[in-house]
Amino acid sequence: METLSQLANGFAIALTPAHLLWCLVGTTLGTAIGVLPGLGPALTIALLLPITFKVEPTAAFILFAGIYYGAMYGGSTTSILLNTPGESATIVTALEGNRMARSGRAGAALATSAIGSFVAGTIGTIGITFLAPVVVSFALKFGPAEYFSLMVMAFATVSAVLGSSAVRGLTSLFFGFYLGMIGVDLQTGQARFTLGIPELLDGVNVIVVAVGLFAVGETLYVAARRHAGKDEIVPLRGSLYMTREEWSRSWKPWLRGAALGFPIGALPAGGAEIPTFLSYWIEKRLSKKPEEFGTVGAIEGVAGPEAANNASAAGVLVPMLTLGLPTSATAAIMLSAFQSYGINPGPLLLQNQPALVWGLIASLYIANIMLLVLNLPMVGIWVRVLKIPAPLLYAGILVFATIGTYGISNSPVDLILLYLLGAVGFLMRRFDFPTAPVIIGMILGPLAEQNFRQAMTISDGDWTVFFRQPLSATLLALAVVGLVGPRLYALYAARRLRDAAQPGEA
């Protein structure tokens, strides 16, 4: 097998002491920035770009890849412990992860996300090694019409987080649409809902919204109810790591998450968030204990989305390494690093720079192992964070959220937004509006809108394009099945139960 011998060469390059050290530095740094909300891998790599003037290319890319994978690991930690997502791909992790942490299972949540990340990251890396050309030719079949249909399918996932009242849930969703619309419209270049504030022209950062609604809102809520009720955090219940039951509930979500994350991550406009939504929805549907979702926290709801976001991180590298297509902010920055070496990333990259590409791929395997080794022992330390008395813990969360938000763009406007959204989050919590649909609406709404308009522009206003193209039609059909299917099945099951009961009565 040619691929295997190439990969062996890659390992020979990646396993030199110097490259291992770069990998360790990258993964450690990546974990650290993942933990901090705001400072993402794209910004970190951009700030490190000047090292390309001093360091040889292979080492630099091993460092960057380590940061990239590390950030995906680290991002889940604060989501779980503090309800403060560090990256947009770990927002879903906060939903169940933080519930688990509050009911004493933080250790298990952190462990399932670390091991799930390792499993999915490794599956994704195997995908890069062997499937890249196939995946990329499939990914290119996705045009605006297909993306729009994919978004419609992803919207079905909102049903998993609507909460007790559909009206309240949909109100949240539409609030998310509104937040997503703010800024310059891509198709016409005109500003929408910016109120004349130039800082809003580029839109509102989804991290600011997530941190505002989840962390700041939660803090205000707890502060307001401090004398009224009990909102006790249990630091640890049962074993620190996963129990046998938790293992058996985790491994299938890991695999399903990886299966969703890798291909969607490889789509040029797929991203890491959509597979996490889809995974969460599927796990909630398939779980044997759906009552744990949104109450004490279900481990499936952490394992699946965490696996999905790490597999998608690997998927993102596919179009970059095979076609030179930057499909995420981080990939775009990595491409500009290629350019500062005078290496032109493109379809010929693999032919012209085999040592670099295979060294990079091999280092991804190593980075995954390093991250697992680095992160698992940390679980015990992280869990102690929850032993901090509530007032201090929440004060710390506020400080953390504020610094992180300021770190995104150094803009005071973002800080004002953070606290405004925190107040909104508090009111939503007080009046029982779910906050997760806001995030889903904010991410999916603008994507669906832009792809819809791109598709309509290309088809010159002919909306049948969504049904005429087989791939798009299939996705729409899946969306219908996803939305209506479970209800029909429930109806059918109820009838059968009744039918089965009737003969006995008669």
Binding site: A42, L43, I45, A46, L47, L49, P50, F53, A139, L140, K141, F142, G143, P144, V184, D185, L186, Q187, T188, G189, Q190, A191, P198, E199, L201, D202, P268, A269, P319, L323, G324, L325, P326, T327, A331, A332, I333, S336, Q339, S340, Y341, G342, N344, P345, G346, P347, L348, L349, S409, N410, Q450, Q454, T457, I458, D460
Partner: protein, 326 residues
């Protein structure tokens, strides 16, 4: 024994050392102590890379002691520029990196500040655009493309970056040159070169426009066919005709340059121009440009200021034709 005199000596030496470390300009008389570079974009983008390459070359050539780069990202420079004009007013050793994208963004966003409020120092680099079709497209030349566009602009979808950006401006200019009303053009805006490239490679659009660097490798690999470039004349090593050669009288460079804040003296302006000229003529700078495929199009001082005014007018008129400005 440590005497008072020893301590004094030591403190003087330390002071001198810190002076040396902190302000290396004492060593070279004409050197700028610290250059402040304002980048109205996020780290990693074209302007940021220009700034960081400048820092690298200026330091290597010992023209400056150090550089401090400030990033204020947002809306193609429309967020940063007001800050540069107001808060950086009168700072002597300060430069802002900007370019054609900013000219367009300010007009499209109806920004209260204008690029002409800054003190233009020098145009540094440029990148010409390229018009491409997928390799299996029936359109073989730019003339084919022009004919298709004239027949029915609604059927010819063209992918590129955000609306009102350089790619869109070029399409508007092509339409105008061919007598096709720019408002009838079918432009599909994508967030960045990557997604646009994917749409072209996947055959979802008829054609695409972007900076040559973005598509160059795909063209070399035979995945895209380059119909024409927007440079004024043929480029060495690139076997693609210009738009002008193909009978479309359009020339466009996505240029990048540097600007000083308003309120500096004529002497300060002169010294900044001299500094940039020295940098642009250094071998280190030329080597960086070659590596990054940036075309040197140096233009300084008054000629540059005149160029900025013309660009401002030209872009305003194209954006008006496209219906993006009033």
């Amino acid at each position: 024994m440590l005497t008072k005199r020893d301590l004094l000596k030591a403190s003087v030496a330390l002071g001198g050392l810190s002076l040396l470390l902190g302000r290396p300009e004492r060593a070279a008389a004409q050197m700028v102590d610290q250059l402040q570079i304002f980048v109205p974009a996020a780290p990693g983008g074209g302007w940021d890379q220009t700034a960081r390459t400048m820092e690298q070359v200026l330091k290597a050539e010992k023209l400056i002691g150090s550089a401090q780069i400030t990033n204020v990202p947002g809306a193609g420079g429309a967020v940063g520029l007001p800050q540069f004009i107001n808060q950086w007013r009168g700072r002597p050793n300060a430069l802002m990196v900007g370019g054609l994208v900013m000219v367009g963004a300010l007009i499209a966003n109806k920004s209260p500040v204008k690029i002409t409020q800054t003190v233009p120092i020098a145009r540094l680099t440029g990148e010409f655009e390229v018009l491409v079709v997928p390799a299996d497209s029936p359109l073989k030349t730019a003339k084919d493309f022009a004919a298709a566009l004239k027949t029915d602009p609604k059927k010819v979808s063209v992918a590129g970056g955000s609306a009102g950006g350089t790619d869109h401006i070029l399409l508007g200019m092509i339409g105008k040159a061919l007598g096709v009303a720019p408002r009838d053009l079918t432009y599909v805006a994508y967030a960045g070169g990557g997604p646009a490239l994917a749409a072209i490679l996947g055959g979802h659009v008829t054609a695409g426009i972007s900076g040559f660097g973005e598509f160059g490798e795909q063209i070399k690999a035979g995945k895209l066919r380059a119909l024409a470039i927007s440079a004024g004349e043929r480029q060495p090593d690139i076997d693609v005709p210009t738009l002008k050669e193909e009978g479309i009288d359009v020339e466009l460079f996505n240029w990048r340059g540097v600007f000083a804040p308003p309120g500096i003296s004529a002497a300060q302006r002169e010294s900044l121009i001299a500094l940039i000229e020295k940098m642009a003529n250094s071998n280190a700078w030329k080597e960086e440009l070659r590596k990054r495929d940036w075309t040197p199009i140096l233009l300084t001082g008054d000629a540059y200021a005149k160029f900025i005014e013309n660009e401002n007018e030209r872009v305003t008129s194209v954006l008006k034709d496209l219906g993006l400005a009033s």
